[in-house]
């Protein structure tokens, strides 16, 4: 995978550091570790609408971008607040 965007570094006291590439699922915002030489499908999949990789849980499901989810959560909270149902 080219330019996965996230990086993880494990530092050990007695051996070399291990580095790994990660990507963040564009549908659920979870971090996925990129396994070198593994196919995209084995790490999840590819959302053609977002043009970004998705995790295994989101693979094969309807495109629901994470930004949309955030807006939905925030608008729901605003609605509840305006109705006096929560703070």
């Amino acid at each position: 995978m080219r330019n996965p965007g996230g990086y993880g570094i494990t530092t050990y006291p007695d051996k070399k550091c291990e580095e790994e590439d990660t990507f963040t699922c564009c549908h659920c915002n979870s971090i996925v570790i990129v396994v070198p030489t593994a196919s995209a499908a084995s790490m999840g999949g590819w959302c053609a609408l977002c043009a970004q990789p998705v995790c295994q849980n989101c693979a094969g499901k309807e495109c629901f971008p994470f930004e949309k989810k955030l807006e939905q959560i925030e608008s729901r909270a605003r609605l509840f607040k305006s109705m006096g149902l929560s703070d």
Partner: protein, 152 residues
């Protein structure tokens, strides 16, 4: 958008979270975007492993407040709240584990987002945020810390 850092510490427990970072403000609610975190044990580490997890929640529970520090001293104080050493667990949302890392206590792990779209984002909704837990631990009672860098 300003950058902040907050360290969350507790003696490892499989039932109580290390800490939480969440949106709450009487002034304005802002999204939290974590772009860097480092986890490790600063007590006397054993050659045993812990499972670290970052997960979303919708209620922050009870914890000891920790004040996030602006990375740039010229930035204003954070509107986001943070807490450590939870005595009441946050209401974690099922199926929203954002990061999961099994790590030997003698090792340190750092993750960072190289691009803005890789950040872990919590909505600008009251008491919503991201908690850090160690649901599995080879040994408990050892002091451990996660250092979180985020934008708000």
């Amino acid at each position: 958008m300003a950058n902040y850092m907050v360290p969350l510490t507790r003696n490892l427990s499989t039932t109580a979270s290390v800490g939480v970072i969440y949106t709450t403000s009487a002034v304005a609610l802002r999204r939290i975007a974590i772009y860097d975190f480092t986890i490790g044990v600063q007590g006397t580490p054993a050659g045993l492993a812990n499972l670290w997890q970052l997960q979303r929640f919708t209620a922050a529970g009870t914890s000891t407040a920790v004040t996030p520090t602006p990375v740039d001293p010229g930035d204003p104080a954070a509107l986001t709240s943070a807490g450590q050493n939870n005595s009441v667990e946050p209401s974690y949302t099922a199926g929203t584990i954002l990061a999961s890392k099994a790590l030997n206590q003698q090792a340190t792990y750092r993750w960072f987002a190289g691009q803005p779209d890789q950040r872990l984002i919590a909505p600008a909704t009251n008491n919503n945020g991201i908690g850090v837990a160690t649901p599995t631990a080879g040994s408990v009672g050892v002091a451990a810390t996660i250092e979180i860098y985020y934008n708000e």
